[in-house]
């Protein structure tokens, strides 16, 4: 990953075992980057899926989601952990 590559401000992870597929996040997401899976999860629900790019990290999907642990919204760290020129990605 090069330093010049523009990265999304946000990132979304969906807990497949927690999501019940109500669809509220899909509707609320401003950039419309959340869809619904074709596959059913372990409990028989379709689950929310992140399109993979376009998330702004606004957190609205998290606010409207009724399940405590189904969604986790990440934001690009303000101080990039990639040291310029080293090409080494930060260690979490």
């Amino acid at each position: 990953m090069s330093d010049t590559e523009k990265r999304d401000r946000g990132l979304l992870r969906v807990g497949v075992d927690e999501c019940k597929g109500c669809g509220l996040c899909m509707d609320a997401c401003p950039p419309k980057v959340i869809g619904m899976s074709e596959r059913l999860n372990h409990y028989g629900y379709r689950t929310a899926t992140y399109a993979g790019k376009g998330c702004t990290g606004c957190g609205i999907c998290f606010m409207v989601c009724p399940e405590p642990g189904a969604l986790t919204v990440y934001k690009l760290a303000k101080v990039p952990m990639v040291a310029a020129g080293t090409g080494v990605t930060g260690v979490s």
């Binding site: 606010m63 409207v64 989601c65 009724p66 405590p68």
Partner: protein, 486 residues
């Protein structure tokens, strides 16, 4: 899902620390709540958990869980948890908060719980301004039990028990809890929020945090009513239910702040802590040192006492005091005693009576069904209880002549105008003591020292004590005279 780490990114919104990582409930449902898809309870729980996180109060929060869908709060919230009886969360919260003033107590209730069976509890907790936080989740229906009409059901809304829709004529109007409580003087914050769209949800998050923060600051009672979707019972998709909150429900239950005294409220004075249990006897004056010494029962222990007495008359004749002196004297003499006043909703100076038992053995019941002695201070009392006297027992009757039709061959009678006799002694009001004198002479079970001690404890004015003693003496003498006459 735990908040996993991703390089270069940090968690902006994730599962609150106030929730357990795993929910220890049945089967394999250890990582999701029991709420239906789209249920507002999940959102409200998240808001509360977030407020707990942000205020840093997880280790001193106590959640009072209700009866209803949200009963399982204790599976999810890693805080102190108590599950209250239906509707009683505010009462339980009051007790918890008062006994642990440093804790942060949150009563979480639904509309069936708070607005129906618990309407009394919430009203009085709010009116006392208890320093607690109440989260009132209103979805306008009894969801857990399958969708019966609730006090908050909208007009025209169909439910299991209003299949034609709620009508004013049959079920009345929807109850506006926030508006009602806002009329009280004590509450600090009463606000209604909704879960109808993202904007409303943000406002609800803010309101819930404020309500908890008010308590942390010690300001007093805060209640947040949350209009919340129930897609399952409303028979709607999650999205339709969410919008229904905003587009329909809000018309009946307008959102807004109904009362906000946060700015002018001062931290409430904490009520004085309750005294330690061990101190109670001294406070009540019944510590060992406070108790009178008593005068040992003079008879031999083999000599059993089992005296059943019924005293009856008009209010004001000293019915209850007569019984009390007798019981107190028995107590002083080391006997088991019971004194049971018995009166109903009665006009002033109506009839009253009491049951007294003295015994060397444990008393099984304070009721006197078959009296050994009946003290009847007037004719109605005599007529009422005459038949109940044990054969061989006594009737002491306040009247010149004993009514012919009340005469029984198997009981002894002492009928005298005790009120007049008392009047001659100095005051008609000591008639009860003259009658008690006769009774003591009949029972012959108590030492005079115990009777004096009882009078001393129950009658504060020494003048009256002296008069009562004369009256008792006169009563004893009258009984002895009557026995000589026979």
């Amino acid at each position: 899902m735990s908040n996993e780490m991703i390089p270069d990114y940090e968690v902006a919104h994730g599962k609150s620390k106030a929730f357990y990582e795993r929910y220890e409930r049945k089967g394999e449902l250890h990582h999701q709540t029991h709420y239906c898809p789209g249920c507002g309870h999940g959102n409200v729980s998240k808001m509360l958990a977030r407020a707990i996180d942000e205020l840093g109060i997880q280790d001193r929060t106590i959640l009072i869980n209700p009866v209803g869908c949200s009963v399982f709060g204790y599976y999810y919230f890693d805080v102190g948890n108590i599950q209250a009886a239906h509707g009683r969360a505010p009462a339980v919260a009051t007790a918890v908060k008062r006994s642990r003033p440093d804790s942060v107590v949150v009563a979480y209730q639904g509309d069936g719980d708070l607005a129906a069976i618990g309407s009394g509890e919430i009203l009085h907790a709010a009116n006392r301004g208890e320093n607690i936080t109440v989260i009132f989740v209103n979805n306008g229906i009894y969801s857990m039990t399958g969708g019966q009409v609730a006090p908050t059901t909208l007009l025209g809304m169909k439910s299991l028990t209003t299949p034609q829709g709620r009508s004013v004529a049959n079920e009345g109007y929807p109850l506006h809890v926030s508006e009602l409580l806002a009329t009280l003087e004590a509450p600090v914050l009463i606000e209604r929020v909704g879960l109808g769209d993202a904007k409303q949800i943000v406002q609800a998050t803010r309101a819930i945090k404020r309500a908890v923060e008010n308590q942390v600051r010690g300001l007093g009672f805060s209640l947040i009513e949350v209009l919340s979707p129930c897609p399952t019972i409303w028979k709607m998709s999650a999205l339709d239910a969410q919008h229904w909150v905003r587009d329909v429900m809000e018309k009946t239950f307008p959102l807004g702040v109904f009362c906000d005294r946060t700015k002018e409220a001062h931290p409430r004075l904490q009520p004085a802590p309750a005294p330690a249990l061990a101190e109670l006897p001294r406070i009540l004056g019944v510590a060992d040192d406070d108790l009178p010494e008593g005068h040992p029962y003079p008879g031999k222990r083999a000599e059993e006492v089992d005296l059943h007495v019924r005293v009856a008359g008009f209010g004001g004749q000293g019915v209850l005091l007569l019984g009390e002196v007798l019981a107190e004297a028995g107590l002083d003499a080391g006997l088991e005693v019971s004194w049971l006043p018995s009166y109903g909703p009665e006009m002033r100076s109506g009839t009253s009576n009491c049951h007294v038992r003295l015994s060397t053995k444990t008393i099984d019941s304070p009721l006197v069904v078959l009296p050994d002695v009946l003290v009847a201070m007037n004719e109605p009392s005599l007529r009422k209880f005459d038949d109940s006297v044990r054969p061989g027992g006594w009737v002491i009757y306040n009247g010149d002549t004993f009514p012919e039709d009340c005469k029984r061959k198997d009981v002894n009678v002492l009928a005298l105008p005790f009120t007049d006799i008392a009047h001659e002694l100095g005051d008609a009001r000591v008639g009860n003591m003259v009658m008690l004198g006769a009774l003591l002479e009949i029972a012959n079970a108590l030492p005079q020292t115990s009777i004096d001690a009882a009078l001393g404890r129950l009658v504060k004015n020494p003048k009256w004590v002296a008069l009562d003693e004369r009256a008792l003496e006169r009563g004893r003498a009258l009984l002895k005279e009557s026995l000589l006459e026979v």
